[in-house]
């Protein structure tokens, strides 16, 4: 695969937890292509987040190599940007200040920062909340701020680690629609980790199913849905229904084995 942006090559990762060594992932082989939206789904603690951390260069694999555009990732990978369940906004900066952070780091001139930030605020629908601090925002608005900050940073690859896990159902669908639309329009490569099967199928071009710890890839499936899909009407789409049912059957046995621990 010559067009692979992120490549995981026989990845294994061991964590030292006191005297015990915990094997988070093993034998992971995965290539993510340019402009592809790949979702990773699996039970909690299966090492999904570990993979994202390795793509960002925050963690080094114990075995194997992570490559980004063919180059092994050994330090912070500035071509990637994060969005997580915990927004990690700066509590001492208002919405404008938070979105401006990556632009300030890139030393954009002041006027251009102001212009870009305002455009992003309008884009993600935060108009009117420019001067609010994160503590004054609702969960959904904090997500939007984090998304705008990520867009301001504008990395080639988005790493999303259960970004919408804490949102209520309606808000989550709204955010899913926006993220999918924006990523398609900007042709971003996305690695999206979730424990929610429906989300994994609804958003992904491809879906990687993980086994419980030590996490290995159970299956990689192509999602048979159109690139421009109507997320609000997916429940009526037979292909979507069949896909989620198939993946559910694949994951369910491991649920029973772990005593029905929530996925």
């Amino acid at each position: 695969m010559s067009s692979a942006v992120v490549e995981f090559e026989n990845i294994g990762k061991l964590f030292e937890a006191g005297r015990q060594a915990v094997r988070a992932v093993e034998h992971v082989d995965l290539g993510v292509h340019d402009g592809e939206f790949v979702t990773i789904v699996g039970p909690s603690g299966c090492g999904k987040s570990t993979l994202l951390n390795m793509a960002a260069g925050l963690l080094q694999p114990t075995e194997g190599t992570v490559r980004y555009r063919g180059v092994p990732v050994t330090a912070y990978n500035h071509a990637t940007g994060y969005m997580t369940q915990n927004d990690h906004l700066l509590p001492w900066r208002d919405v404008v200040g938070n979105i401006a952070v990556p632009l300030e780091i890139k030393r954009f001139p002041r006027a251009s920062i102001r212009e870009r930030v305002q455009a992003l605020i309008d884009l993600v629908g935060l108009t009117g909340f420019e001067r609010s601090y994160p503590a004054q925002l609702s969960g959904g608005m904090r997500k939007r701020t984090a998304l705008a900050r990520l867009l301001a940073y504008d990395p080639e690859t988005f790493l999303m680690d259960e970004p919408f896990a804490a949102l209520d159902a309606q808000l989550r669908v709204n955010m899913q629609i926006e993220v999918r639309r924006l990523c398609r329009r900007l042709n971003k490569t996305v690695l999206f980790v979730t424990h929610d099967l429906d989300e994994a199928v609804a958003l992904g071009d491809r879906c990687v199913v993980f086994s419980p710890r030590p996490g290995t890839i159970r299956k990689i499936v192509d999602i048979p849905l159109a690139p421009t899909r109507d997320l609000l009407r997916l429940r009526h789409d037979p292909a979507y229904v069949a896909m989620t049912a198939e993946l559910w059957d694949m994951i369910a046995p491991s649920l029973a084995a772990t005593g029905g621990e929530p996925v």
Partner: protein
């Protein structure tokens, strides 16, 4: 409003019983009496001596506060970010920290004489440790996730300092500054008690030397007022420096 009325009432009760007890139950020599103290304070205000002496003490406390605070913050941030250096100097800092700073006064008199400099350095030394230890803890408690996310955006050390480390340590710095206020005054007043010819500490020692109990109480009240002013100033600066805090406090709480 009601609270303030009750407070005023309590104050009146205390002052009135003091006035009544004085000379009847306990000798006036030991506890003076409020009317006399007010008279002395008025006299000092009229002849300007209170303003002069309070100005000296406030100057010493404030300069020492600023000096010690800035130094404590700087060292706290540097050591907070440089793990190895912190580990190396830790026993030395702890040794100095355990030393009662007031015991350094004689040394500082030798070095700086008995002028204001000596009190400023003494106050600064006391404040330094309190602010340093707080800042250090604050820097160590900075969210590593925030640091990682900004580093991923290409942030360098100075970006991290300016955007994450210092703002998140500010809460701790102010906690250190707030507890430093009384200690800053200890530094200044004790310095003046030991050796000086001006300042509220001198006024206090001078009155006591002449067995003027009223003067002692008047000086104590002046010191109290000064401490109150310093406290208010720190709190005001704190609110101005951390607007996100007051935003957080005024929001409606939901669980």
């Amino acid at each position: 409003m009601r609270l303030n009325a009750l407070r005023l009432l309590l104050l009146i009760v205390i002052v009135a019983s003091w006035e009544l007890v004085s000379g009847r139950v306990i000798s006036e020599f030991f506890i003076s009496r409020p009317s006399v103290i007010v008279g002395i304070l008025r006299e000092w205000t009229v002849n300007g001596s209170i303003l002069f002496h309070a100005g000296i003490t406030a100057g010493e406390a404030f300069s020492g506060f600023l000096l010690g605070g800035l130094a404590g913050m700087t060292v706290g941030i540097v050591l907070g970010r440089a793990r190895l250096l912190a580990d190396v100097v830790d026993p030395f800092i702890m040794a100095f920290y355990s030393l009662p700073k007031i015991a350094l006064a004689p040394l500082f008199i030798l070095w700086f004489g008995i002028g204001m400099d000596m009190k400023i350095v003494l106050t600064g030394t006391v404040v330094f440790f309190l602010v340093f230890l707080n800042t250090y803890t604050g820097v160590r408690n900075v969210s590593r996730e925030l640091v990682a996310i900004l580093s991923l955006m290409g942030a360098r050390e100075w970006h991290l300092l300016a955007k994450v480390v210092i703002p998140s340590a500010v809460t701790w710095v102010f906690a250190g500054l707030r507890i430093s206020v009384p200690y800053a005054l200890i530094g200044a007043i004790v310095g003046e008690l030991i050796a000086s010819n001006r300042g509220l500490g001198f006024l206090l020692a001078d009155a006591a030397g002449q067995f003027d109990t009223g003067g002692v109480f008047a000086a104590l009240i002046a010191i109290m007022l000064l401490a109150f002013l310093l406290n208010t100033a720190v709190k005001y600066t704190e609110r101005k420096a951390m607007p996100w805090k007051s935003a957080d406090e005024t929001r409606e709480v939901t669980i």
